[in-house]
C-alpha cells in the first residue's frame, strides 16, 4: 500500500483538503482505462475470431484455421497497441499531476497500473498454481 504525506511547502492546506477519497477514486478510474481498453479489444477480437471461423467454415479446415488465426493475432496486436498508447497517456497524465502536486490521485493511478500488470499476468499465475491431474 502507498502512504502519502504531502509537503506543506508544495501542497498548501486548502489543496490537501480537496485531495482525498474522491481524488483517489478518480485516480483509480483513470488507472483502469488501459485495462478496460485491453479487455474490450481482446473481447471484440475473440468474438470476431469466432465469427470469422464460422464464416470460413465452408472453405475447409485450413481456410478456417488461417482465418481464425489471422483474425485473432491481428486483434491481439491491436489490443497491445491500444493498451500501450493508453498506458503512455495515463503515465503522462500522472507526471502532470505529480508536477502539480496532486499526489493522492497520481499515486492511486500508479497503484492501479501496477495492479493492471498483475491482472495481465494472472492467467500465467493461475496456470502455474491451479492443480492439474495428468493421467499416469
Amino acid at each position: 500500500m502507498s502512504t502519502h504525506s504531502i509537503d506543506e511547502t508544495t501542497a498548501p492546506a486548502p489543496k490537501q483538503s480537496v485531495e482525498g477519497k474522491g481524488s483517489a477514486i478518480h485516480g483509480v478510474l483513470i488507472g483502469l482505462i488501459p485495462l478496460g481498453l485491453l479487455a474490450g479489444v481482446v473481447l471484440i477480437a475473440v468474438v470476431i475470431t469466432a465469427l470469422a471461423r464460422e464464416l470460413a467454415a465452408g472453405g475447409g479446415f485450413y481456410v478456417q484455421q488461417q482465418a481464425a488465426l489471422i483474425t485473432l493475432i491481428v486483434g491481439l496486436v491491436l489490443a497491445i497497441v491500444v493498451f500501450a498508447i493508453a498506458c503512455w497517456r495515463v503515465l503522462r497524465q500522472v507526471a502532470l499531476w505529480q508536477k502539480a502536486g496532486v499526489a493522492v490521485q497520481a499515486a492511486a493511478t500508479l497503484w492501479t497500473l501496477g495492479f493492471t500488470a498483475l491482472v495481465i499476468i494472472s492467467p500465467i499465475l493461475l496456470a502455474i498454481l491451479l492443480p492439474q491431474h495428468p493421467a499416469p
Partner: protein
C-alpha cells in the same frame, strides 16, 4: 512503497526530489506493465502453437480394401450430421451361413486416432471381415481428418461424434449401397481408443444406436492432455491450460468438456460392452486400464444400466482383438446378437 516525505530543505529542492521520485515510480510501473505484456505475449504464442499442433493429426494411408479379404463392398460417402463434412467409408454386407448377403443389422466401425477404417494395428479390416461373416453388415468409415475424409479439427470425439451420427442418418435415409438388401433395421457401433470414446458420445445422443462395444476408450480426455502435451510437446505443464484455451478460441473445441464418463449413463438401458487391455499404458502414452472401470462405474450409475466389462490380460492398447482372436469375435458377436436380435432376412 510510494512515499513522499516532508523535508526541511528549500522548496525548490523538495520539488526536485518529489519530481525525481515520481519519475522513478512511473518508470517502475512502466517496466512492470511492459514485462507483464511481454510475458503474456510469450505465453500466448506458445499456447497458440500448442493449440495448432493439437488440431492437426497425421493421415495414415489406407493399406487395403475389403476386397483383399474376398469381401463384397461398396465405397460410400455421407455427410456428417450438423456440419455436412463428406465422410468416406465402406459398406460391407453381412454374409449369412447360406452365403446370402444381408444388411438387416449393421455395425458402425470407428477407428482410433491418426488411423483409418482399415487400421492394421488394431486389425480393423480383419475384424470387419469376421463380423461380416457372422451376418452383420459393416459401415466402416474414416473419421474427419483421417483416411480419405476431409481435413478437420481434431477434437477427441467432440466433433468426431457427428461423423458417427452422420453414419446413422446415412443408414436411415441415405442412398442404399445395395438396394436389393433393403434398409438396415438395427444399428450398433464398435470403436477403439478415440473411436471407442466417440461411439460412447454418439450413442448418448442417438437412441438409434442399439448397442456399443467400446475398446480401450478414455474416460476423460483432460488427464491425457495434461500428461501428453508437456511430454510430447516438450513444454512445461503450465502451458497446457493456455493451449487448451487457445484451441477453444481458435477452433471452438472445448477440451474441458470431452468426458465420455459424464454421458455414458444416458445410454442405458441399451447394452454396453467395455473392453480394455490390462497392459495398456505401460509406456505412459496411451489409455490407463483404470479408465474402463471409471466408465463402467459411471455407466452403472443409471438404474437400468446394462453394462459388461472385459479386461483382457496381456493386451496392450487396442490389441485385445489380436490377443484374443476368435474369442474376441465370439464374445462381441454374442453381445451384438443379444442386443440386436437374430437376422431373419433368410427365413
Amino acid at each position: 512503497m510510494l512515499t513522499q516525505t516532508p523535508s526541511s530543505s528549500a522548496p525548490a529542492s523538495v520539488e526536485d526530489k518529489s519530481t525525481r521520485k515520481g519519475r522513478i515510480w512511473r518508470r517502475v510501473v512502466a517496466v512492470l506493465l511492459t514485462l507483464s505484456v511481454l510475458l503474456m505475449v510469450g505465453y500466448s504464442g506458445v499456447s497458440f502453437y500448442i493449440a495448432t499442433q493439437l488440431q492437426v493429426g497425421h493421415r495414415t494411408p489406407i493399406y487395403a480394401t475389403p476386397a483383399s479379404l474376398g469381401l463384397q463392398y461398396k465405397d460410400v460417402t455421407f455427410p456428417s450430421r450438423y456440419d455436412n463434412l463428406q465422410i468416406k467409408g465402406w459398406f460391407i454386407p453381412g454374409i449369412l451361413p447360406n452365403g446370402q448377403l444381408t444388411s438387416q443389422r449393421t455395425i458402425l466401425i470407428v477407428h482410433g486416432i491418426d488411423n483409418n477404417r482399415a487400421d492394421p494395428g488394431a486389425g480393423l479390416l480383419n475384424l470387419s471381415s469376421d463380423l461380416a461373416h457372422q451376418g452383420f453388415a459393416i459401415l466402416a468409415f474414416d473419421l474427419r481428418g483421417n483416411g480419405e475424409s476431409p481435413t478437420a479439427a481434431r477434437s477427441f470425439g467432440l466433433y468426431e461424434q457427428r461423423d458417427v451420427l452422420g453414419a446413422v442418418d446415412f443408414l436411415h435415409s441415405g442412398p442404399l449401397p445395395y438396394p436389393q438388401l433393403g434398409r438396415t433395421h438395427a444399428i450398433a457401433a464398435w470403436g477403439d481408443s478415440l473411436g471407442g470414446a466417440t461411439v460412447i458420445l454418439a450413442a448418448a445422443n442417438e437412441p438409434a444406436i442399439k448397442a456399443i462395444v467400446s475398446d480401450s476408450s478414455f474416460a476423460d480426455i483432460l488427464p491425457r492432455l495434461e500428461r501428453d502435451i508437456p511430454a510430447q510437446g516438450h513444454v512445461p505443464a503450465m502451458f497446457t491450460p493456455g493451449g487448451l484455451i487457445a484451441a477453444q478460441m481458435l477452433y471452438g473445441v472445448d477440451y474441458y468438456n470431452i468426458r465420455p464418463a459424464s454421458v455414458i449413463a444416458s445410454i442405458a438401458p441399451r447394452p454396453i460392452l467395455l473392453i480394455h487391455g490390462a497392459n495398456d499404458n505401460k509406456d505412459h502414452t496411451t489409455t490407463p486400464p483404470a479408465d474402463m472401470y471409471v466408465l463402467a462405474a459411471s455407466a452403472l450409475s443409471a438404474p437400468n444400466a446394462n453394462v459388461q466389462t472385459w479386461m483382457v490380460p496381456g493386451a496392450t492398447h487396442v490389441q485385445a482383438y489380436h490377443v484374443e482372436g476368435q474369442v474376441y469375435v465370439d464374445r462381441i458377436v454374442a453381445f451384438y446378437t443379444a442386443a440386436l436380435g437374430p437376422d431373419n432376412s433368410g427365413s
